[in-house]
């Protein structure tokens, strides 16, 4: 697999796509999100697996998002995700609240190719009252009186994440973040940015193979050095907390957010660097 330029990878995402991304502590595709802003993506239906962070807030602020299904949106220590909060207050995006294990479970159902999967808990939460697509049934394996939640399979159109490296076969090394495999298995298309390409076949290395996603799932790969920035990436580099704090401060207002976009996302320099 020959790496695609980053902006060409973003061009593979059609407007309106159901796009799943991992959270800020698990291979979030930050450079890819900036490329989606540059390509002026519109109407994206995001899925935060199981929560969302910087990339989602950036896409919401840039007007790329129609709806968001997630269990939370947070910038971690930097606090509230400001463009998300503004969009909820304005009612400008459709927000579909879930709870973390429900997102995982819906993807696991899609991964197995079954129409639904049960999950304990959740009964009595107002989340359930606002999910017409979630159903409670009586456990058919018990003697009655055991209500349990059924969740529909969720197969995103596209999964996107930023990993450490890829090989020419499209195999992707995600290390201990093996929950990414579930997102990749469940999604119809997988687009990945990586720090670097490596020689050989990652799946032939017995030590690396358990942390590798098989290239059979992967459509395209782009090189993006420090592509998780300002988020950290495994043991490669740490989160840039000062930058996230700067983002959180600027994004509090629409004007500040425009300043941020001009400086870090749409500027010719940023584009060339990515």
């Amino acid at each position: 697999m020959t790496p695609t330029p980053l902006d060409a990878l973003a061009a593979l995402v059609p407007d309106g796509a159901l796009l799943a991304m991992p959270p800020d502590n698990s291979l979030a595709p930050a450079a890819f999100a900036r490329a989606l802003v540059r390509r002026r993506a519109r109407g994206l239906r995001l899925v935060g697996v199981p929560v969302a962070g910087y990339a989602t807030d950036l896409l919401i602020g840039a007007g790329c998002v129609a709806s968001l299904q997630t269990s939370a949106v947070t910038l971690g220590e930097a606090g509230t995700a400001p463009r998300f909060a503004a969009a909820v207050a304005a009612g400008s995006i459709e927000l579909i609240d879930a709870t973390c294990p429900a997102i995982h479970t819906m993807l696991q159902a899609a991964e197995k190719g079954v129409p639904f999967m049960p999950l304990r808990g959740v009964i009595g939460s107002d989340i359930l009252a606002h999910r017409a697509d979630w159903k409670v049934i009586d456990n058919p394996f018990a003697d009655g009186g055991d209500p349990i939640l059924l969740l529909p399979a969720l197969a995103p159109d596209i999964a996107a994440f930023h990993a450490v490296c890829a090989d020419a076969h499209g195999n992707i090394y995600v290390g201990r973040r093996r929950e990414l495999a579930t997102i990749a298995h469940a999604s119809r298309r997988v687009l990945v940015t990586v720090e670097r390409m490596v020689e050989g076949n990652l799946l032939e290395d017995e030590r690396l193979a358990p942390g590798v996603i098989n290239g059979v799932y992967v459509e395209a790969v782009a090189l993006a050095a420090r592509g998780a920035w300002p988020i950290g990436l495994l043991d490669e580099y740490a989160m840039d907390a000062a930058h996230i704090a700067e983002y959180a401060r600027l994004a509090r207002t629409a004007e500040g957010f425009s300043t941020y976009l001009a400086q870090y996302v749409t500027a010719p320099l940023a584009s060339a660097a990515e």
Binding site: S26, V51, C100, P101, L119, S125
Partner: protein, 250 residues
């Protein structure tokens, strides 16, 4: 060095973890951005108790190789005995609201979201609720939105609920049968009236003893080995409470 209020909260939570009347805590999980519950769990461990700690947001030595999916599967199986939850609003029946105030989905003020609360609250035999802000806007008669209910109807599978609610002013114990909190202890400087005035929900127990200070042994552990374990994950907290910074990172 005088006792930092956070050290008192940590000591109080450690005693709740060790409460012999509560279900045993062999495996404690701590979620994101929870330095005080994390420190209390480390204190229990450093006091010599044989507990397994799974600290979700530890950057190195993270216990999981399948992220939060693995955490929730562990909890679903009953392999996690104790978890900590908070809330933008908490009411007198121990309902939690992490979603927002006003109309659904939080049009007045949106909080981050439920995270895993609507699952974890049911799956662990006990939950210690922790919210430092103790005010009528947080401790309300009835939450605007229930992200996770404190009590469930008969027949709904549930291993446990809140053991206690720890705030910056006091500790409430939770009686699941009555569905009510009871004032268990008040922190130094608080009176029965100051707590009553800051609490939006009704609770039992007009007054209660003062929350005990951590012992000398506990303070020494907090300021030494517990802080050592916390530095990488919570550098700001360690600097603020113990005036320590990570020499490696500096």
């Amino acid at each position: 060095m005088s006792i930092h209020p956070h050290e008192r909260l940590i000591g109080a939570i450690a005693r709740l973890i060790l409460d012999p009347l509560a279900p045993p805590a062999r495996h404690i999980a701590v979620g994101a951005a929870s330095p005080i519950p994390a420190a209390a769990s480390w204190l229990v461990r450093k006091l010599g108790h044989d507990v397994r700690l799974s600290l979700l947001h530890r950057p190195t030595g993270n216990p999981f190789t399948e992220g939060t999916r693995e955490l929730f599967d562990l909890a679903g199986q009953g392999r996690i005995d104790l978890f900590f939850l908070g809330g933008g609003q908490i009411d007198g029946q121990a309902n939690l609201n992490l979603i927002g105030t006003g109309e659904w989905p939080g049009r007045a003020a949106r909080f981050p979201g439920s995270f895993g609360s609507a699952f974890m609250y049911f799956m662990t035999p006990r939950t210690i609720l922790f919210r430092e802000e103790h005010s009528p806007r947080v401790l309300v008669p009835r939450v605007d939105i229930v992200s996770a209910p404190g009590l469930s109807a008969p027949g709904v599978f549930r291993r446990g609920t809140a053991q206690a609610l720890v705030t910056g002013k006091c500790i409430f114990s939770f009686n699941a049968t009555a569905g009510r909190f009871r004032l268990a202890s008040r922190h130094p400087g608080e009176t029965q009236d100051s707590i009553r005035a800051a609490t939006g929900f009704a609770y039992d127990g007009a007054d209660a003893p003062v929350t005990a200070d951590p012992t000398e042994e506990e303070l020494a552990l907090l300021r030494g080995p517990v802080c050592d374990e916390m530095l990488a994950t919570y550098p700001q907290f360690c600097r603020q409470v113990w005036h320590r910074s990570d020499e490696k990172a500096a």
